[in-house]
Symmetry: C2
Subunit: 310 residues, 2 copies
């Protein structure tokens, strides 16, 4: 390994330099010093090469954006805004300084779009490349998973499934062309956060990091209600036909992508007259069901878990 | 791997359960919600099996305490107190649920001693065991690395070198007996934080995570001054003879342990009439020198770095 810690830190300090007024003291001391908030959101996510991303499928810039997005989405899902990020990475020694700089630029780019500043981090050597990000945000009125009420509708901030479609293209090694495939690959590599849709009136909220079926079931359980997802409502979404055509083209299952795919980081919310895409109803009972033509559909269990996989 | 993510999370949620009034919402939602502070300290540290700890040298409980201590020390070194911890771990699948529970108890034990609460985390599968902790604290009057002034004395909150001594015993595979060796092994496995010594009047401060010579040189550079470490002052420390006898016994170099060993997490500070162990003077110039009998000593470069090692 030709790179010293000093070289890498110098590059990171340059990429992450900032004059944000929320930051009293950024990178360079034992810790960062910032102006905190009365109601503060704290969350952390760790991503591992081979489990959460593959360097041969995504550029360093995309990997950086993707991991930052996963963390920022958890802040958004509390009805918050992200202020600060901390990045702890383990490097194998096979990364070039350019790759590391691009990774940092990706994190910085996504952070900046979300209004957040990278204020610190740590580096260590390991056999496995991994990146742990901690996001710190604030909210005036937190929205939890547990507030869904009978009679609420269920909404998505945007149609999920694009990231799963991109993963399927890459996993099958398909050469695709066309704008739908390109969008799917982009969403897998660096998901778009729904930063401009505000759900202050939502009764419950979570981001879809694992799958609509998983996060929906968690929200239903936390709220003591039943989630009924209506396939016809999903099919009426503006972008459904585009995603459906892509599924036909590459032999994928569009409903599986939408309901059982992960990592789009769309927001799943409940409430009355909310913006976004309406996909179902909160009713009395427990659990989550998917209904098509008035009948409950059998969905295969979600195979995807970052922990249980391999 | 027989353990599911749900099983592991259930154990962690139990170990980390808390009713602390600073926490609005702990483990279980997309993110934690806490009462923040006007002047907040943020820091993260990642520890990797084989580089920072070895499961065959330390118990899971000790590893947990050690990694929590490294993060809390960074908060203490800003003249702060730690409020919250977030833990992101990668597990290989070879850990038993008991080992994971003990690790969590170790983190919880050190957090609790320092007045901090574990409010969230993340788990992922990896070929390499690693634990990233983010610590969030507060301070009314931050102390940086950059405030050392000519005429200040240099102090340690306690004598360093015990952790390096413990590492040498383990690395050489020695069977030792006696209280000094036991203390060295304990300090390597789970360092004692100097939680009760207050340095509010210090002009600069850092914790000794790498080595007195490294952190001292960083403080001297940041402050635009010279650090002169006096060996005679170190030798007059109460515990010096005990550590020195241990060095003779096992063929170690006591000054090397004290000045070039890492991970005791003692606080290195500058100022006038401070508590702790006085070890030198801040003078005009730049860099760090070690002086014995009025002569500058040649010290070997510090070999230890978590990043460059291997």
């Amino acid at each position: 390994m030709g790179l010293s810690e000093e070289q890498v830190i110098a590059v990171l300090a340059e990429v992450f330099s900032s004059s944000d007024s929320r930051v009293i003291l950024g990178i360079g001391d034992d810790a960062a010093l910032v102006h905190g908030s009365a109601r503060q959101i704290l969350t952390t996510d760790i991503a591992v090469e081979g489990t959460h991303f593959r360097s041969d499928w995504s550029s360093a810039f995309e990997i950086g954006r993707r991991i930052a997005a996963a963390n920022i989405a958890d802040v958004l899902s509390m009805n918050g805004r992200c202020d600060f990020l901390l990045v702890a990475a383990t490097l194998t020694g096979n990364e070039s300084i350019d790759w590391i700089r691009d990774l940092a630029h990706g994190i910085q780019s996504q952070a900046s779009e979300a209004g957040a500043v990278v204020v610190g981090g740590d580096l260590a050597r390991s056999q496995t490349l991994s990146i742990a990000i901690t996001a710190i945000g604030h909210t005036d009125s937190p929205i939890r998973r547990s507030g869904a009420a009978v009679g609420d509708a269920i909404y998505l901030s945007s149609l999920t499934g694009w990231s799963a479609a991109g993963l399927e293209i890459l996993s099958k090694g398909l050469s695709t062309s066309g704008s739908s495939a390109a969008r799917a690959l982009n969403e897998y590599r660096a998901p778009t956060l729904d930063l401009n849709i505000i759900f202050s009136a939502a009764t419950s909220m979570s981001d879809v990091s694992d799958a609509v079926l998983i996060q929906g079931a968690q929200m239903a359980k936390a709220s003591g209600v039943k989630f009924e997802i209506q396939v016809e409502e999903i099919e009426s979404a503006l972008e459904f036909s585009e995603l459906s055509s892509l599924a036909s083209e590459i032999g994928g299952d569009v409903l599986n992508w939408i309901l059982q795919g992960g990592e789009d980081h769309a927001l799943l919310v409940t409430g009355v007259n909310l913006p976004g895409l309406r996909i179902g109803l909160v009713t009395e009972g427990s659990g989550l069901v998917v209904i098509k033509g008035g009948q409950e559909m059998k969905m295969a269990p979600v195979a995807w878990s970052h922990f249980d996989k391999e």
